[in-house]
Symmetry: C2
Subunit: 442 residues, 2 copies
């Protein structure tokens, strides 16, 4: 049954009727004792299975040497094995000699980069721990774990509005170019978490053209979804490195990526790319921290993925599993919410999330309702600095982990909850308005 009338235009009786019918559906779901999760961007088991060959790809009867003939099992080689640098460089679109390959977590590389800036200082500037005020810009909705890193160090997270083509650059430019306490900005430039958008060429160029008031300002460019297309051809992201070299600011960014959502989520390899000068500085500090990462796993990943073509071929298999899941959620959203005038949502061409905007003030209620019938969603507001969205309307939907069958149910439940929350909100607003009208009359 297609929805023909928006909730806002319905009168009291019609809305109540609608609410009752939704509550009946809601009670039905409750009775089923479900346990579904659309909260985190975890790959599904069948996606992990795509890479199971990794497990025994290195035969035990040969010595796992890297392409320089070094034994990957032993100590050494702080920046990673050459072939892993090449592969990760190709994924990020940067030269291998500007890449450091590490263990399984690119988040760890980001955390350590901030920690280093706090303790040791960057490019010869004062360690941030010695400064009165340090600010980071947080395009929101964004990745909660990014914001949590800077928050954990007491850095002031500043919310920046995300537009359809990237962060609101006029605000970014103003803050970065005038405030020396603004030391960085968190970006997921391709298939942004959770909006799914890719920064436009113009946005990337404006990033490269920043004239930071802080000499040690850095763009934290987390290219987590560099090759994670759901459709072909995928989005094209302008090369930030190239753009920064053109504007004479090669030291203005740190780039990150990993194979976490290519091979094994918890057992991939991570990479950091930066200018030669920045990388040398990072490696110098890292040399106190570790003798090097697990190079056997680096060799394993390269043996499995081979090269960028191999990666692309492999990512098409992920897309074949993921695209139908996104389809289910998007179709359900369209069927259940289309034309009701209570929600909009993104239709991403890649990445791991659908970003949902309900009526203002309804996100937390929607998440709460869903939780009560066994559907766990990302906490409302989680994708905003300090876990709180002023408008209380955005919810991140992660379709990757549940099965198609589970998604059918979970996304229907989600829609029913969003509709109930919307009606409650409209009714309460109307009744408040009525009260005010009566008060004025009285």
């Amino acid at each position: 049954m297609a929805n023909t009338e928006t909730y806002i235009s319905m009168d009291k009786e019609l809305l109540e009727e609608e609410l009752n019918s939704l509550l009946a559906r809601y009670e039905d779901y409750k009775a089923q004792g479900l346990k579904l999760n659309m909260a985190r961007g975890k790959p599904a088991p069948e996606q992990l299975d795509l890479s199971n060959a990794l497990l025994d790809i290195l035969p035990s009867d040969t010595t796992p040497l890297d392409s320089f003939g070094e034994d990957t099992r032993n100590y050494g080689n702080l920046t990673g094995i050459p072939e892993a640098k090449k592969l990760m460089g190709d994924i990020m679109g940067v030269p291998a000699n500007e890449v450091l390959v590490s263990n399984n977590s690119s988040l760890n590389l980001m955390y350590d980069a901030v920690a280093r800036s706090m303790l040791v200082g960057v490019n010869g500037f004062t360690p941030w721990s010695k400064l009165e005020s340090v600010k980071f810009l947080c395009p929101a909705p964004g990745y909660d774990r990014h914001f949590a890193i800077t928050q954990s160090f007491g850095i002031n997270n500043i919310e920046i509005e995300m537009m359809s083509n990237g962060p609101d650059m006029s605000v970014v430019e103003h803050l970065v170019n005038t405030d020396p306490s603004v030391k960085g900005i968190w970006c997921v430039p391709k298939y942004a978490n959770p909006l799914g958008i890719t920064y436009s060429d113009e946005i990337v160029r404006r990033f490269a053209a920043l004239k930071p008031a802080a000499g040690d300002f850095k763009i934290y460019w987390d290219n987590a979804y560099a090759v994670h297309d759901l459709e072909e051809p995928g989005d094209e992201l302008l090369d930030l490195r190239e753009a920064c070299i053109e504007t004479g600011k090669p030291n203005m960014y740190y780039m990150f990526s990993s194979t976490s959502k290519i091979t094994f989520a918890g057992g991939g390899i991570s990479a950091l790319s930066a200018s030669g000068e920045n990388l040398a500085e990072i490696v110098k500090t890292m040399s106190f921290q570790t003798v090097g990462a697990d190079k056997v796993n680096q060799l394993r990943q390269v043996a499995f993925l081979r090269d960028l073509d191999g990666v692309r071929e492999h990512m098409r298999k992920h897309a074949a599993l993921l695209a139908p899941k996104f389809r289910v959620v998007l179709d359900t959203l369209e069927r259940e919410l289309g034309n009701l005038g209570i929600a909009t949502w993104t239709k991403p061409r890649g990445g791991y999330f659908i970003s949902f905007d309900g009526l203002s003030g309804t996100a937390m209620r929607t998440v709460e309702l869903a939780k009560r019938v066994g559907v766990v969603l990302t906490d409302a507001g989680a994708t905003f600095p300090y876990g709180s969205e002023q408008m209380n309307k955005n919810i991140r939907i992660a379709p990757s982990y549940p099965s198609i069958e589970e998604l059918v149910v979970a996304s229907e439940i989600f829609c029913v909850c969003a509709r109930i929350a919307a009606i409650e909100s409209i009714m309460s607003r109307r009744s408040r308005r009525k009260d005010i009208v009566q008060m004025v009359k009285a």
Copy 2:
């Protein structure tokens, strides 16, 4: 030819004759254009081969689940998989629930522990980065990478003399118990790097009985060689955890270990153990840093080593490869230097090093002479805070990596260099003395 006379007792002619004969040998070595390395404690390829089954031990046609049925390939489980905690706990002699298992580098765990103390603070105390003065005690000779961590943060490294049964505890007690800026001490309590000694029961008890002036003082107990015996039975190290619980100071230590020198040096797993309270605090901060370590590799290590018995059985294979190498070096030292009165050295029952003391003032010269004929040794002084030993007599010898054949040559060269350096030193002292005598006469 056994040496019958000490160098000190030889007259000028005899010493010169000895020097000439040594220089002839030295020139012979130089002519060979050798390239040998006794500098770092790296396992030899044949030791790594012992664990090659690791490479394909997890079959690609099954899902690598941990003992709780969790998929090790996916995100999550910050503290590690249960069976890895059990195994590492058994190696360290602590309960599994007080263990955190991480990636390939225990050094990284130590670095991060210090970094956390600097930035976030420990047990509710002021972060060290906000203090005027922070000191760490460094029993020396010790592990250079320990001292480098604290040095890299600008912490004041204080040298503590190592005795035959552990650090000089009267000095440790005085400093720890009276100076609130003393925040930690670096220890390798079993088969200490480089002395090879194991702390006596009394020393461990005195550690547990410390009454630190600093409420956040920690013993950094790096049990890197917990199961690394060269002879049977191996040394027994008293249980620091138990001792600290008995003295009512369960929060006074961080314990570390790894499988780096059990399986793959660069591709093992690491572990940290601490009291429940300390561990909870660590995990809280780590939750911002990473979603978790590579659990596939944790599963792999347990699949290969099985349990503590499996570890001990495996370590006997290492000992079978290592013991003859230590033998070669020790025999050569005895043959070339015994009775000359110019050197003493340790005869370790486990671990990775032989610690050599030449005449005062000769260590750097010996290392330099060896380097010139192609034998790389650990830099003289490297095992002391700030890389400098006042007495300039200690050299760390690492026999693990070269082959037996290479060790025969390398250790002979080492001895020849030590002898040359000793004669040079004796002659120069005598001539200085003669000058003084003549000056007094004149």
